[in-house]
Structures are given as structure tokens and as C-alpha cells.
């Protein structure tokens, strides 16, 4: 692939709605290739809605989402599907298909889109499960493993087709601090190994600082993004009390008494 400096994802003037309500207006940001990009914001601010729009499940009210310069929502359905195939998504609860074993979960995308033989697919499945530390769990059903393992298995499925962009919906929610930390490390390692661009939606501060290269902060009250940049840089330089409050759990500056 030729080297280009164009951002992988560009979001322009994006408005989002939930049911009949506009939840976010006028979002503008871009995600660079190979970055770990964090969408942060308080609960209920529209982070998950933004994710749904980014992964192509929900149409925005208005605005553009460009992948490598191509406007996703202007394409016809088959072109959209083509583009979605280059995404991997880890849903909040893992969203593993409960009637399939872990192996079948990871194998399905490969059966669908690869030209590999069934023996080769089995090898690939073993590899992806090994990458997330689940060697030997191929024949387990999702109900038989723990929540943290389910997330990792979901990640194995998300990276089955070596996606260009991997989306994470609240990766550390519901995990104990240690498992959350392990998942963060795994995210960084996968980015380095696969060279993928990663978008994470979360409000978990520890994760944000541990993995985030770049970030946007969404705000519920003003219904738009109020900061953009690297989380550490934002913490050091931002003058906006709302940003500082969010990044310090409200322990610094102008907390309402």
C-alpha cells in the first residue's frame, strides 16, 4: 500500500440523534493511521451512538464520516458492506454468538470472506485465540467462560480478518482492575503487531491515560465535543475547567460546592 498521510477516519460536521432527540452536534475530528483514539465523555452523552454511526449501524442526522477519504454514508449498501468488512468491533459484552463455540465464532468471518481451506481456517482460529491468550478454549461455549474471557474472545473474533480499524465499546467495563489492565496491554500489543488503527469508546480514566494517543471529549450539556488532543496533553495544557474536571475525576479546579 502506498504511504499516505491522510487520516484513516475523518468526521465532519456530524450530528447524531437518539430516538427523536439530537444528542450531539457538530463533531469534527480525525483519526490518524496507527493511532489509539479515545472517544471519552460522561455516561449518556452519546458515545455509544457515535460508535454506532462510525461502525455503520446507525445513520447520522447529518454530516460526513470519511474512511480513507470515502464518505461512508454516501455509498450504496454493498459498498458500505465492503467497507465494514475492514472494521473489527469488540462490543461491550463481547457479543459472542452464544450458539457457537469460541472457535466457530472466530471461524465464521473467515469462512465467509477468506479463501482459506478448512484446515487453514482452524489454524487461523488457533492463532487468533492464542493472540488474546485463550489457547485451548476453542471448543468452549461463551456461556462456559468468564466475562473477561468473553471480551478477549470477542476481540479474537474482531481481529479475525486482520481489520484496518478496530473499534472497542467500553472495553474495561465490568472487568476487575487487573483484567482491565491486561486488556489495555493487549490493545497496545495488537496495534503494534497488526498495525491497525484503534478507536476506543470509554470513560475509564486509567485506560484513557494508559492507551490513548489522541482523544476527543464529548460533553452532555453543550451537546458537542469540547476538547481534542492527547489525553496527557489535555490534562497538562487544557484551560477548560470541564476538561480538567473530567480528567481528574473532579478533583481539581472549580468543582461545584
Amino acid at each position: 500500500m502506498e504511504k499516505n498521510t491522510r487520516p484513516v477516519i475523518e468526521v465532519r460536521n456530524l450530528d447524531l440523534s437518539y430516538d427523536d432527540y439530537a444528542v450531539m452536534r457538530d463533531l469534527n475530528f480525525s483519526v490518524n493511521k496507527g493511532d489509539i483514539f479515545v472517544v471519552m465523555g460522561p455516561s449518556g452523552c452519546g458515545k455509544s451512538t457515535l460508535l454506532k454511526v462510525l461502525i455503520g449501524l446507525k445513520e447520522p442526522l447529518k454530516g460526513e464520516v470519511l474512511y480513507n477519504g470515502v464518505d461512508f454514508w454516501k455509498q450504496d449498501e454493498s459498498a458500505q458492506q465492503e467497507m465494514m468488512r475492514r472494521f473489527g468491533v469488540l462490543y461491550q459484552g463481547g457479543a459472542l454468538w452464544s450458539s457457537f463455540t469460541l472457535g466457530e465464532n472466530v471461524a465464521l468471518p473467515l469462512q465467509l470472506y477468506s479463501k482459506l481451506s478448512s484446515v487453514q481456517i482452524r489454524e487461523m482460529v488457533e492463532l487468533k485465540l492464542a493472540l488474546v491468550g485463550l489457547t485451548g478454549y476453542t471448543d468452549f461455549y461463551p456461556a462456559q467462560i468468564s466475562g473477561g474471557m468473553r471480551k478477549r474472545a470477542g476481540l479474537a473474533r474482531a481481529i479475525a480478518l486482520d481489520p484496518e480499524i478496530i473499534f472497542f465499546d467500553e472495553p474495561s467495563s465490568g472487568l476487575d482492575p487487573l483484567s482491565a489492565r491486561m486488556l489495555d496491554d493487549l490493545i497496545i500489543r495488537l496495534r503494534d503487531i497488526l498495525g491497525a488503527t484503534i478507536v476506543i469508546v470509554t470513560h475509564e480514566l486509567a485506560s484513557i491515560f494508559a492507551v490513548g494517543d489522541n482523544a476527543v471529549l464529548l460533553d452532555t450539556e453543550s451537546k458537542t465535543m469540547i476538547a481534542e488532543g492527547s489525553p496527557k496533553g489535555l490534562l497538562a495544557d487544557s484551560k477548560d475547567p470541564r476538561v480538567i474536571q473530567f480528567l481528574t475525576r473532579g478533583e481539581k479546579q472549580g468543582v461545584a460546592r
Binding site: 465492503e82 465494514m84 468488512r85 462490543y91 459472542l96 454468538w97 465464521l108 465467509l112 470472506y113
Partner: protein, 375 residues
């Protein structure tokens, strides 16, 4: 004896002092705020309210809610509430509660007018119909791809579904249709005995079962069994974001999940209907020959001559249509399920209600068409 006591003092003509004593706790119950209000209304010149809590015993949030209610009432009457006489703990709690009141401004909770609700209902209905038409279209497309060999779904899943909505239902279908056959025989016997024409029980049971009852009973059993299970299954997949996971992979949930289920029911329901017809006739035969004393051979011949092939076809068409109805309504309700436990329950209920209602309506329509065509 009341645990708590409320008394009034009038230190000056425009001031009411409220003296609270005893225990003000949740379990002890509360005096009504109206007592204070009636006291306030009987003295029109009162402009401020003070408190004396020097003799108060144990208290908890019951006291706070009493005071908040009182303060709200005083606000309406433009009476100033002087909070100095309150202990610090109570005052802090009041401050906290009032602060929350100021902060949360409910913008959405506005009672809708009748017209607004009517319009909402209409829009919902329109959206519902559009969703149904859309869904039917998607299923039709999926079947189109299936018949051209392009549909993607797992064969082993399909056979699992066929087994679940076919072979696994045999026991229940046997029992119900056997009993329906018996019931038909008894009802027929009651009237036909008057004319000594009991042998026509064979006609009633045979035609009744084969033409409509076998299919309807199977349809109703399968709505409850399979329609509900499809709705619950797909609904839970929706709740767990499994359906989203299919979509992001470019797998059409309609093609992968719905089409095999509808197809399985389309195949299995006519077969189950055939089986139910047979079991119903066996039931009627058994009762007629053992209890009503008819000759088995004669009964058998009568059945053979009465039940024509056209009756069988009508029954099978019923079964086929019911299969589509049950499959579509079960899957539709499941896929459109909201993301909560309550929504899952609603999806299952409405899958069963929709399919049973549609089965009855479809039966009426098919019967009418047959009447017109003279089948």
C-alpha cells in the same frame, strides 16, 4: 399514643413556630402536612415560619420529606421559612435535597395532549407497518438468494431448527390432535345418534381434521412452542448485541437467522399437519369403535370415501401459510426487540399473540377463498 407530636406557637402575630417533638422516623408514621396548612390558613396574617426542634427524639429521612413538603407548600403561600431553628444535620440534608431539585430540570416530562398522543400512536402504527413491509421484503430477498443458491447460512443450524420445530413437537401434536379427534367424535355422536346416523361421525372427524382442525391445532401449538422460542432467541441475541455483530461482519441477520427459521417452519408445519390429521382420525376411530360401538371396517371405509384429496390439499395449504405466519411474526418480534428484560417479555408475548391472531384470520380468508372456488 403517637410517637411524634406537632404543636403550634405564635410568638408574634405574623410568625408561626412549629414545635416538633418525639420520634420522626419512617416506621413511626408521619402527621399530615395538612395540619400545618390548615393552621396557616386559619391565621391569614402569618408571613414566616420558624421551628423549635429542641425536644426532637430520633429522626430520619421521613422528617426531611415532611419538612420539604411543608417548605414547598409555604413557597406557594409566600410564607418565609426560617431554617435557623433546625439542627445542623437536618439543615444540611435539606440543603442537599433542594440543590438537587434546582439542578435537575426535567425537560421531557410534559404531559402530552390528546392530539399529541393520537398523532404519536398514528406515527407508531405507520412505523410498525413500514417495518413489517420492510421485513417481509428482506425475507423475500433472502429467499430469492436462497433459491439461486447464494444465501449464506449454516446448514447445521438449519437442521437443528428443523428438528426443534418438527420432531421435538411430535409428542405435543399427537396428544392434542388425538384429543381433538375424540372431541369431534363425541360432538358428532350427540346429534347423529338422534337420527341413528352415527356412521357419519367418520365423515365429521375425517373432513374436520383433514380440512382445517389438524392445521389450526398444529398452528396454535407451534405458535406457543416455536414462535415464542424464536422471538425469545432472536430477542436475546438483540439484547446481547449479537445481531449487531452479524451486521458489522456484513452478514444479513435476515438471511442468516430468519430465513432458515421461516424455511424450517414452512417445511415442517405441513408435515406436522399431516401427522395431526392422522392422529385426529385415529382418535375418532378409537372412540367410535370402542365407546360408540361402530363397526371398525365400516368406519374405515366411510372415512376413506369421505376424505377427498382436495380436503388434504386445503389442509396442507393452511399448514404452509401458518408456517410462514409463525416464522415471520416470531422472528420479527425478536429482531425488533428492545434492549431490556421487559422488552424481551413483550417480544415473546406479542409474537404469540400476533401469530395466533393471524392464524385465525388466515383460516377465515382461506375458507372464504375455498368457498368461492368451490373446493
Amino acid at each position: 399514643m403517637p410517637l411524634n407530636k406537632l404543636s403550634f406557637e405564635h410568638p408574634s402575630s405574623n410568625t408561626l413556630r412549629l414545635k416538633l417533638s418525639g420520634e420522626w422516623q419512617i416506621y413511626a408514621g408521619l402527621p399530615a402536612v395538612e395540619e400545618v396548612i390548615s393552621e396557616l390558613s386559619s391565621h391569614k396574617d402569618i408571613t414566616q415560619l420558624t421551628f423549635d426542634l429542641s425536644e426532637i427524639g430520633a429522626w430520619d429521612s421521613a422528617l426531611i420529606s415532611f419538612l420539604l413538603h411543608l417548605m414547598r407548600e409555604c413557597g406557594h403561600r409566600k410564607i418565609q421559612v426560617i431554617r435557623e431553628g433546625l439542627p445542623e444535620g437536618i439543615n444540611n440534608l435539606l440543603t442537599l435535597a433542594l440543590k438537587e431539585h434546582e439542578r435537575t430540570i426535567p425537560s421531557k416530562i410534559k404531559p402530552a395532549s390528546f392530539l399529541e398522543r393520537a398523532a404519536d400512536k398514528f406515527l407508531q402504527l405507520k412505523a410498525g407497518i413500514l417495518a413489517l413491509v420492510n421485513f417481509l421484503g428482506e425475507i423475500a430477498c433472502a429467499f430469492g438468494r436462497f433459491f439461486t443458491g447464494k444465501a449464506y447460512f449454516r446448514r447445521q443450524d438449519f437442521f437443528g431448527i428443523v428438528q426443534r420445530c418438527g420432531a421435538d413437537a411430535l409428542g405435543l401434536v399427537s396428544l392434542i390432535s388425538l384429543l381433538v379427534g375424540i372431541i369431534l367424535a363425541f360432538i358428532g355422536a350427540m346429534q347423529l345418534q338422534l337420527f341413528g346416523a352415527q356412521i357419519y361421525i367418520a365423515d365429521i372427524v375425517g373432513i374436520g381434521m383433514v380440512r382445517v382442525m389438524g392445521a389450526v391445532m398444529t398452528g396454535i401449538i407451534m405458535s406457543g412452542r416455536t414462535g415464542a422460542s424464536f422471538a425469545a432467541e432472536l430477542g436475546l441475541m438483540q439484547v446481547n448485541e449479537e445481531i449487531d455483530a452479524y451486521k458489522t461482519l456484513g452478514i444479513s441477520p435476515v438471511e442468516f437467522l430468519v430465513m432458515p427459521r421461516v424455511l424450517a417452519l414452512m417445511i415442517m408445519l405441513p408435515l406436522l399437519t399431516l401427522y395431526a390429521d392422522f392422529m385426529g382420525i385415529v382418535g375418532g376411530f378409537f372412540i367410535s369403535t370402542s365407546v360408540l360401538g361402530l363397526n371398525p371396517v365400516e368406519y374405515w371405509h366411510h372415512t376413506q370415501s369421505a376424505v377427498r384429496l382436495s380436503n388434504l390439499w386445503v389442509g396442507l395449504v393452511h399448514g404452509f401459510v401458518f408456517g410462514i405466519i409463525i416464522g415471520v411474526s416470531g422472528c420479527l418480534r425478536g429482531i425488533k426487540c428492545g434492549r431490556s428484560a421487559e422488552a424481551l417479555g413483550e417480544a415473546t408475548t406479542s409474537a404469540v399473540v400476533t401469530s395466533i391472531t393471524s392464524i385465525v384470520v388466515a383460516t377465515a380468508v382461506i375458507t372464504f377463498i375455498c368457498q368461492v372456488l368451490g373446493v
